[in-house]
Amino acid sequence: MSQDAEKVIDHFELFRGPEYTEMFVNKKCMFENPVAAEELERVSEWTKSADYREKNFAREALTVNPAKACQPLGAVFAALGFERTLPFVHGSQGCVAYYRSHFSRHFKEPTSAVSSSMTEDAAVFGGLNNMIEGLANSYSLYKPKMIAVSTTCMAEVIGDDLNAFIKNAKEKESVPLDLDVPFAHTPAFVGSHVTGYDNALKGIIEHFWDGKAGTAPKLERQPNGKLNFIGGFDGYTVGNMREIKRLFDLMGVEYTILGDNSDVWDTPGDGQFRMYDGGTTLEDAANAIHASATISMQEFCTDKTLNLIEGKGQEVIAFNHPVGVEGTDRFLMEVSRLSGRPIPAAITKERGRLVDAIADSSAHIHGKKFAIYGDPDLTLGLAGFLLELGAEPVHILSTNGGNSWKEKAEALLAGSPFGKGCHVYPGKDLWHMRSLLFTEPVDFLIGNTYGKFLERDTKTPLIRIGFPIFDRHHHHRSPVWGYQGGLNVLVKILDRIFDHMDQTTNDVSKTDYSFDIIR
């Protein structure tokens, strides 16, 4: 049947009808000069071979299906973690539209960010005017308490000087002189979103601590025994931040979260639009200099930021996205040491519950082979957890991971007999992963939404952990940190294992003799 105005069929069904399938076949045969089906099949099979893998890994210039995003995305993330802060990206507006939709698709929340909308003339003559007008407009339109400026490639290529531009803009009374306008240069052609997060956060902290771009005296550090906590670029920030705060409160730790996105990406549906919600107050951001130490959950997201903080005399500790028992142990013990607060019995009990749950299910995960890809810290945290479960990571890939990440990952793997057969791939993309999955198959793949293409091609069941997750809702609400978070990750992995078991045993009268109620 063809489309009928009375009963229009949507895309799920439309092209499955015979008139379309026939038409497609005819079109292909008559007009597309197709290769023979056997030839198509041969080449398709060849892309799965070791021979193809070798050619694939010899790729030098082309990136296919990268698993990373650009610096300004991370900068927008960092900016949104502060009270009434408007991320302002100096550059082309198209990029900013991407960041907004990217975050909205992941968090299912509106994400506010503006750009200076540079056009061709700005690219030729410099973007100063765009900055002046842009700051003025966004200040009057959106009433921010702070505007955090970052850049797209366009501004970076022509070499716009943010420091000078912002000063200029303030002199021209584009925004009040005392408005906080921290900035960071975040070219997408360097690093990735984790670098951008680092740069932007450092920019904000530097602004408050080092005299607000020359408009105020530098702050003198007077240690007050508090702890600073930085989450890093984290797709689970909504659940994670709340979990971390809960743990700190249970321990009675005095803390400042530097960059808290948990409210702005989880506003209630009560009829009120909150362009800004929650976030670290600007006062807290300034006072964070007095803390005794700063803990970062993601080393590769906070390299420069921690350098700055350490330079102020604080002790800094960085983790690699700890997931599971031992990772959380180390994290909490550092918190305990730095704060002088003991770990209370209630948390010890939570730990016992996670250990108990892992032991209950160990038989199902033990010896299962996994491929992981994602951001450098996340892959390290997940790999550590898999080793703890007795699973065997086989491929660990990070498009935005470099050599230091590779060394870290290899050291981690060397510490466990379950890490023996695993290889680490820095700077590789998901097309490389495709070859890896075909030539050295694994039982499960852990990655973000884009992993679904790998799942489709290689039939490796995908466990969605990472950023972005577009095609499943609300995962970001559940923590993956803390013992409770470890439990969530465990359940996620187990669910997929059991789903897969069900899916491979549910053919009626063929395989469903193993389609069991109890697993």
Partner: protein, 472 residues
């Protein structure tokens, strides 16, 4: 109830059961069910026992007459596998409600039987009695009889209200129901000198299928397996087998013995667990068949298969020996497994520090003594707290048991492997032994056990390195 009472009494006097026979007649009358201590944890009821014994018959509609509880909790609870029909996994119950209890549930039951027959047309319907209809006096035997006449199909009453006794009693009453209503009611189209019955094997996790290829190779036909992967007609025609193997000695001994009495089918008790036991079972089957007139060359062929399969299994277990040698195991399991698994694990170089004998016969116990010499301890019924203490003190490396003890093991920080009903790995036959050893290896070496045994790092001033990772 009087007929049910008589039946229960008869089961207690089962001459095939060594425990019963060892008792004085007065004691025997009291039956083999220990009175349960109210308030103490207890196992399943007679209904449950009957259900698990018969539910593996795959093409029968199993209709549970009672309120939702009985079927609600037992629906598809065991991994008894089917190679064909799947009707046994569909849940049928009358789901009695208040009105049924006030006015009686017999009409409701009859209608339910009729509907099941009309909608599914199964070769037979098994109707299970439960506590509530038994208490209000629903006569399921009469209803089944009437329904069978009207519907022209075997409608088999399984009279096992939970309150009559234990799960084990339910197993036996289920066997009685088969003897009364099913076995011998049909004739097979053809018989061979190589026909056997396997009694008390439920094909959990498809275990029967690990054994069947060897029987097939020897030309031995399973006329009926009671009840794993069985079809109604196979059970109905099982009285023409030449010999029988009795697998789970306590569950269906009455079926094996009465079939010997009624139809002259000799049986032996055997096990498919463990390499030695598997071989012995194959030998016994062949010997019984030859005794009943099968050509003697079967014995030679059997030996050849045994030799080949044993060598193959040993070869595959050998690589694990280095890792498993000297590891100590505690067994909490029932019946035959209390010794057949012992042998199997010793084959892998493991040491047995204890085994439970709750469901074992004196015969079973003798075999354990023989196998484990003086080193082992036999345990009887254990309360979770005692079990916990035992596990803590026993300083074993692994425990093998059923699902219910898993969680106690875990609290005692003991690696654990499920070898009972709800497991998902088949451990029968030569193939199964290799699988068991693989699973033990996995359980022992899973890294979580190090973690389980360690206190939270802030709770101890000992460094993790100083902590003993595997209990010495």
């Amino acid at each position: 109830m009087s007929s049910l009472g008589a039946k229960v009494q008869k089961v207690f006097e089962e001459p095939g059961c060594a425990t019963n026979q060892a008792k004085q007649s007065r004691e025997r009358k009291k039956g083999c069910n220990k009175q349960l201590a109210p308030g103490a944890a207890a196992g399943g009821c007679a209904f449950d026992g009957a259900k698990i014994a018969l539910q593996p018959i795959t093409d029968v509609a199993h209709l549970i007459h009672g309120p939702i509880s009985c079927e609600g909790h037992s629906w598809d609870g065991r991994g008894a596998k089917s190679s064909g029909p799947l009707l046994y996994r569909t849940s049928f119950t009358t789901g009695m409600c208040e009105q049924d209890i006030i006015f009686g549930g017999e009409k409701h039951l009859y209608k339910a039987i009729k509907e099941v027959v009309e909608k599914y047309n199964p070769p037979a319907v098994f109707v299970y009695q439960t506590c509530i209809p038994a208490m209000i006096g629903d006569d399921i035997e009469a209803v089944c009889k009437a329904a069978a006449l009207k519907l022209g199909k075997p409608i088999v009453p399984i009279n096992v209200p939970g309150f009559v006794g234990s799960k084990n009693l339910g197993n036996k009453l289920a066997g009685e129901a088969l003897l009364d209503y099913v076995i011998g009611t049909e004739e097979p189209t053809e018989t061979t000198p190589y026909d056997i019955n396997i009694i008390g094997e439920y094909n959990l996790s498809g275990e029967l299928w690990q054994v069947k290829p060897l029987l097939d190779e020897l030309g031995i036909r399973i006329l009926a397996c009671i009840s794993g992967d069985a079809k109604y007609h196979e059970v109905a025609r099982s009285h023409r087998a030449r010999a029988a193997m009795m697998v789970c000695s306590k569950a269906m001994i009455n079926v094996a013995r009465k079939m010997e009495e009624r139809y002259g089918i000799p049986f032996f008790e055997g096990s498919f667990y463990g390499i030695g036991d598997m071989s012995a079972s194959l030998r016994n089957i062949s010997q019984l068949l030859v005794d009943r007139g099968a050509p003697a060359e079967l014995l030679g062929r059997t030996e050849a298969v045994i030799e080949r399969e044993e060598a193959r299994a040993w070869e595959r277990i050998a690589p694990f020996k280095a890792r498993l040698a000297g590891k100590r195991a505690l067994l909490f399991t029932g019946g035959v497994k209390s010794w057949s698994v012992v042998a199997a694990m010793q084959e892998a170089g493991m040491v047995i520090t204890g085994t439970s004998v709750k469901k074992s016969t004196p015969d079973d116990k003798e075999r354990i003594k023989e196998l484990v010499k003086d080193d082992a301890h036999m345990f009887n019924d254990l309360k979770p707290r005692e079990m916990y203490k035992l596990l803590k003190d026993a300083r074993a490396d692994i425990m093998l048991s059923g699902g219910r003890t898993q969680f106690v093991a875990l609290k005692a920080k003991m690696p654990w492997l499920d070898i009972n009903q709800e497991r998902h790995h088949a451990f029968a036959g030569y193939e199964g032994m290799v699988a068991l050893i693989k699973e033990i290896d996995k359980a022992l070496f899973n890294p979580i056990w190090e973690q389980v045994r360690r206190p939270a790092p802030w709770e101890s001033d000992v460094t993790p390195e100083e902590l003993c990772l595997h209990v010495a």
